[in-house]
Subunit: 232 residues, 2 copies
Amino acid sequence: MQQEEPGRSSDWDRGVPTAVIARLPQLLRILDSAASRGVDTLSSDDLARRIDVSSAMVRKDLSILGFSGTRGVGYEVAALRLQIADVLGLSTDRPVAIVGMGHLGRALAAYPGFPAQGFRIAAAFDRDPAIIGSRVGAEGDLVVRHESGLERDVAAAEIRMAILTVPPAAAQRVADRLVAAGVVSLLNFAAVALQVPPGVQVRRTDIAAELQILAFHARQSTAIGDRATVMA
Amino acid sequence: MQQEEPGRSSDWDRGVPTAVIARLPQLLRILDSAASRGVDTLSSDDLARRIDVSSAMVRKDLSILGFSGTRGVGYEVAALRLQIADVLGLSTDRPVAIVGMGHLGRALAAYPGFPAQGFRIAAAFDRDPAIIGSRVGAEGDLVVRHESGLERDVAAAEIRMAILTVPPAAAQRVADRLVAAGVVSLLNFAAVALQVPPGVQVRRTDIAAELQILAFHARQSTAIGDRATVMA
DNA sequence: TAGTGTGAAAGCGTTCACAGCA
DNA sequence: TGCTGTGAACGCTTTCACACTA
């Protein structure tokens, strides 16, 4: 399965390990910060220390993507930044829909960092008549629309990414409709595993689950009685 | 490294792989839902289908924890539910602090699902005088306190878990203070890697990074032109 | 000299496949 | 018969170690 597409010029298509992709946003952030401080080269070790991985891994990641540094010096901040942004598809403005304008949905709509990262909240939906028409977003310039027009609005704006902040019971139904409307990437905050057709990617962020995982650890720590666990 | 503690009666101490722990909250949720529907046994396959993993993995996870089912039948919902809740330390009420009462912090404070899962938002902090004293939380019964009293309040309430929803620049400083006050588990929403002493666990939820990872995929999909990628 | 680039080795987590039991 | 429990195989990720070079 998963044959290499042979004719793709300088392209990493789908052959890039997910683990590598998942580290790129962090590298990008460090490069942004370095660039704004006027730093123009960083070694793999500099990068590694700040995202808490090994320097070998940073070098391997970058080499997998075909990005190379200078021996004895490091990587060029400006060049690398553009290359990574390009891999992540952040060069163009990406319209994103948010469905479910509860507390969390409104908080995300108001997140001021999205525009700088190439994302634009292009549509916000809910099913509660009391909310429809209200203004949300960092600038208050986004009007909540009724869910019934979801397909039309999403397709019209050519939206391919969506954030789901609806109750768990509604999540699958909404996901189906978003996919039908052309969405291929879903960020799901509802605590259910979504079924989607091949070619559609879902990432879940389950805040309650994260707390529970941490609770396991907190339980261990207190059981042992706070003695510092010696581990690298 | 990491020697087995021999004398611990029926105890899984720290020998449980993180990956296993991370799946338990999902299993727990399914068991809760099954229990409320009156279902009293579920097979590993039933469980697996709903959290989108293989049945072998479910069986292995449960067997690692020492939980066993009945051959030919499955697992007892009620018993398994209690066992998992116990492993995760959800039997007792866990006080949690939230630092940073911006949009996201307030949204989390208002999340109504926490009490049912054994978590209680016991304190909310911010540094902005305009917010101090305002009421937040699902019931509006939580008063935002000034960050300056963080150490005292956290220690007094014996809080060991905290949620960080502060700006990235403030995250490390706040984390240091929380740890000093006795917090051992941190859920970090700021887009920086925190440095913490051994014995303290951090889990990061980086919403912008998730979107960027999805953007990579959206970029691939559109580049290929929406033809359904045939993959299992 | 300082730091990249990369095979080879190690480590984990997941899946396979099937023996064993209600 | 149906489903659990689990060693063995597999594949992905990470680390090690070192040749190489600006």
